[in-house]
């Protein structure tokens, strides 16, 4: 690895950390602006001015906001996300398992969706403007246009109710084997795949078609390469940067945007956890989940940036 790459990558990472700090400030400020505070929420209707003041004193809420922010941030950095108000449980412990569940679902959805989307994109380019291309584009666009809850319920109707191949509710618990787990998440993973497929496939198609105009593609054709070999060897490697970008955006969506799908399938992941605690106005949990989502989003975007940098031969092999 040569120096310009190291420098660019270091810049991206530093920028990402800065961005994450800014987001943490926003999340903290946002929850402060909301009317009422934790003390009021805990005491509810039984709140008297004295009891409120006592509880605030006890929780440290009477300190200025910036001190509480740094207190919270310090906790986050040392792995202490605070305590959930509603249950009194340690947030970090409850999140750990759910985060793992969400990542598990996202991972399997991605394993299916990404290769499928890219392959479909390549096929669409190979038979561009023919019926194969139109069929692929049409089906992919239709699946994206349906709202995810609709797709989710369709899948449940066919595969769980009518045929009973997969469970309608994706319950997972400790001690399940990998096979059992996979069967449990099959339907939500399929729903997620259908949602993200079209975006990645269309972008792959567009990025490669853009490159197909280049003089070096003509050179490859004039060497006698077959259309498929031209696309695979000469067009695809030069279209990789925009493809990686859209893949990472969709990966981020698989982690951050699963809320609806998790709720439909009652899957014990982050989305479900977030929705539960929003309804309970459990501010510390919402803060923690928001920060984790932001971190995932920013990290994946940094990875996309870095991958695009590394994919550029001009940067990998400077003059």
């Amino acid at each position: 690895m040569s120096s310009p790459i190291v420098k660019l990558v270091a810049q991206r990472i530093a920028l990402g950390i800065l961005l994450l700090l800014a987001v943490s400030v926003l999340i903290f400020a946002g929850t402060q602006i909301l009317p009422g505070d934790v003390a009021q929420a805990i005491l509810g209707q039984s709140a008297t001015p004295e009891s409120l003041a006592n509880l605030r004193e006890q929780l440290g809420l009477n300190q200025p906001a910036y001190i509480r922010y740094f207190h919270w941030l310090g906790g986050v950095l040392t792995g202490d996300l605070g305590t959930a108000m509603s249950s009194g449980q340690d947030i970090a412990t409850s999140i750990k398992e759910r985060l793992w569940n969400t990542l598990f679902l996202a991972f399997w959805a991605a394993i299916v969706a990404i290769p499928l989307a890219i392959t479909l994109g390549l096929i669409a380019v190979r038979y561009r403007n023919g019926w194969v291309d139109k069929l692929i584009s049409g089906v992919a666009l239709a699946s994206t246009s349906f709202p995810e809850f609709f797709i989710g319920y369709l899948l449940v109707f066919y595969f769980a109710v009518q045929h009973q191949w997969f469970p309608a509710i994706s319950t997972v618990y400790d001690g399940m084997s990998l096979g059992e787990r996979l069967q449990a998440i099959a339907l939500p993973a399929a729903a997620l795949t259908l949602v993200v497929l079209a975006h990645m496939m269309r972008m792959t198609r567009a990025a490669i078609l853009n490159v197909m105009q280049s003089a070096y593609v003509e050179t490859a054709e004039l060497k006698g390469l077959s259309a498929a070999a031209v696309i695979r060897k000469h067009a695809f490697p030069n279209a990789i940067a925009p493809i990686i970008n859209v893949v990472m955006l969709n990966l981020a969506y698989l982690v951050v945007g699963v809320v609806v799908v998790e709720v439909i399938f009652v899957y014990p992941g982050m989305g479900q956890y977030l929705v539960d605690h929003v309804t309970k106005r459990d501010v510390p949990v919402v803060q923690a989940v928001g920060l984790i989502f932001a971190a995932v989003y920013i990290t994946l975007n940094i990875v996309a940036d870095i991958a695009a940098i590394v994919a550029n031969p001009r940067l990998r092999h400077p003059r």
Partner: protein, 551 residues
Amino acid sequence: MVDGKAKSGPLLDIRNLRIEATVYPPGEAPRTITLVHDVSLTLEKGKVLGLIGESGAGKSTIGLSSMGYGRGGVRITGGEVILNGRDILKGGKEGLRKLRGREVCYVAQSAAAAFNPAHRLMDQVVEATLLHGTATRAEAEKRAVALFRKLSLPNPETIGQRFPHQVSGGQLQRVMTAMALCSEPDLIVFDEPTTALDVTTQIDVLSAIKDAIRDTHVAALYITHDLAVVAQVSDEIMVLRHGRLVEWGGTRQIIKEPRQEYTNALVSVHEIEHQEQQPGTAPMLSVKNVTAAYGGGHVKVLKNVSVDIFPGQTLAVVGESGSGKSTLARAITGLLPPEQGSVVFDGRTLANRLADRPKEDLRQLQMIYQMADVAMNPRQTVGTIIGRPLEFYFGMRGRERDKRVAELLDEIEMGKGFIDRYPAELSGGQKQRVCIARSLAAKPKLIICDEVTSALDPLVAHGILKLLLNLQQIEKVAYLFITHDLATVKSIADSIAVMYRGEVVRYGSKSKVLTPPFDAYTDLLLSSVPEMEIGWLEKAIKGRRMESAGN
């Protein structure tokens, strides 16, 4: 030789070739146009045929038809292309794939664009050979290295490990020639292989190509618009115009005794009589010791440059790409504020930065660019484009403005009929004329012409140069003429500045600069301009005193 069988007859025999394309003009129904009208040609083994003509003559289209290839929506609709004794148009897609890269190879105009930036050069050079299974990888690579050496590339053993962007343009063009030769084809199509190069680099590439053709006994179609270049490498020359054959004959006959009027016009182009004007007493614009740099002072591109331009005269700035010619224009116009030195115009020092200059100063200095089509808003009519400076600088409106636009259109010999046309409906030469009219509309004292004829065909460029000289007589405007083409310089300059690596190495009146004794660089530049004379290339290579910068 593909299968070793002895074949009688020519290597390539194209009979009554007809090529068509469907065009989609905006707002009209699609229609079919004929690009090539029943052209026939034959090429013997080991011979070189030059295809020459202006853009749109169909020369690339004919060249690519020898591989059964049509660019974009181009279709071969009639005739036969007989290669090695069989009609390749009847072989189907599979048959074409088998011959491309094996029997016929292609060398593109811009090797920089024709190499895949994602792969190492060696992988691309041996790709066709491996694909067609004519050699093992080790053999192919050995052959490639031998070809790199023959084409006098630096570090022939290791250059294949580099990526395209790590190699200069002239070297890439030679690597591309090696790529074409590597699969030992019977025929190579060279499509303007030296047009995008500087003259001093062109001569190296040209002589490398010529040696390689001689040593490998490959046949070639050499496509170019430059008759002097094709005269150096071809056995025969075919002149084409609008997709039709004009004249076909031996090289000597075509350049010495052309039979057709059009060929004669091609041969005698560039000869404009221009009486050199003597410098006046007071220069109109003085560039004084200007130093300029990009990247916050890191890359010095102009070093202590001083030149003068006199009223109504032309200063030509000549040099290779990267010599700082265009940067000088940017420094004068304030687009790149100089780090040191100053620009004095009409006795007062101009502000360094463009943003600090009053409107009147902006009006006095106008620019014309190389690429006329990207210098105009494609969604504005010619009338709007030329009328814009009239409104902006003089506040002209309505009928007054339209009258002036019509006058300007007359001056550029185009006439009122063009007022409502869009740039896309104009030819390359007409576009450049509109750009000239737009700059004249501001009534400037100086027009900076940045390679204004480089993208044009020789005959069209000739017309533009004559127009510029006429306009100079009428409007008394001075030109700063940036070019790499010395023939252009001879036609129009009153004084010349030769630039090399950011410095002015020779400066003075035209007669003084072009009279020996020369410094080494000016000598190289002058001796690299192709002359329409058989055997010029060998003489020029022998007589050189210094290596070109691109090598």
